[in-house]
Amino acid sequence: MNSSQHYDAIVIGAGPAGLTAGIYLSRAKLKTLIVNEGTVGGQLVLTHEIANYPGVESINGYQLAMIMKKQALTFGCDIKSNISITRLDLDGELKSLVLSDGHIYTAHSIVLTPGGRPRTLGVPGEDKFKGRGVSYCATCDGDFFTGKEIVVVWGGNSALEEAVSLTRYAGKVTIVHQFDHFQAFEYAVEEARNNPKIHYIMESEIKNFYGDERIESVDIKNLKTGKTLNFKTEGVFVFIGYVPNTEFLKNILTLNSWGEIEVAADMSTQIKGVYAAGDSIAKRYRQVTTAVGDGTIAALAASHYIHELKSKHKQILTV
């Protein structure tokens, strides 16, 4: 075995949970590698302002992620980002993974923190019109829709809050939601209800996007009557929640019906030496602070496991 490719622990994912696990593991003098498929920081970098992270009055998500990354690197953690895992073997005491660049890495313990990503509608035309009318970020693209009529999909907190913020630009915002009531907190519902620019099409879903260079209309199906309406619009903002990035674990771990990883209180999974933390685990609240807390627990539990494993091997050698 090439020793340079062996680590005490490998963390899969570099959002707040993964970076925290990396900080704790490497600070505990454990040789640690963080492997990340996307941008370091995960969904944290998608947040413009974080005002409720204790000890920091207000910070941009990107800046906070870069501080966490720097902390992990300072403690000696290695980070490989924008790379995918082509093979993962979690069985036995020596876990291994193969990356898309062909490199093989082994470790005693794995901490899974793959996070999540915005859910897409998955209807015809959505991908074609991404950046040409379909958007997942109001603050990024809102000003392209100044004076225009747009649609916001879903009725959760993000959807209603973003719908209100989009009224600063758009002439009219129509919320399309599949239920007859909203899932958002009462304050968000009230703020949206009090905004004269916001209109509603309830118990309905978007079924198709149409246009040439950009979106011109969408098909909206009423789920109660089954009737489809072709609705003229120039923009559709989609805020329908997140999906965990756990597809690569499907045949390795048992996931719940939402694709989330089930963990015990110490963040251990059903496989010995494998821990999970952050937005990909089954839990109710998903915040930067909860991800950081989960990552800490997972790292401490993994450290304990690695030390026990090492001392067991030492004892066998001395007997």
């Binding site: 970098v45 870069m66 950046g131 958007s135 997942y136 990024c140």
Partner: protein, 118 residues
């Protein structure tokens, strides 16, 4: 101000000079937002691999960025970043909004050739 490790283009003149002096250029025109940051990050990573391509970013709200915002190839774009690929000073491809590493690599390979690993 873009807080990236890419080289920044600050003016329209600088943009013109860069695309005229370099055969293969990729310019990401955006803000420090959630759809843009992943594209900068991918470009930073690929910069080491695609040595025959020059990677730059340009702030979307910089007055000089009109050179990108007014390109005919970005007409209809309604999502940042606007990523523009130039070959010998001419636009060969432009994309709107967030892109994956695979999407960016596919364009670089098609338009500027696959990097040769010695």
């Amino acid at each position: 101000m873009l807080y990236t490790n890419l080289k920044h283009i600050e003016t329209a003149d600088e943009h013109a000079k860069i695309i005229s002096e370099n055969e293969n250029v990729m310019v990401i025109c955006g803000r420090m937002g959630p759809m843009c940051i992943p594209v900068y990050d991918i470009a930073e990573e690929l910069e080491k691999e695609y040595k025959h391509v020059k990677f730059y970013d340009m702030e979307f709200d910089n007055p000089g960025a009109y050179v990108i915002r007014s390109l005919p190839e970005v007409r209809g774009f309604m999502g940042i970043p606007f990523t523009v690929y130039y070959k010998s000073g001419k636009v060969v491809k432009a994309t709107s909004s967030i892109q994956t590493r695979e999407q960016v690599k596919a364009i670089l390979d098609k338009e500027f050739a696959v990097p040769v690993i010695a």
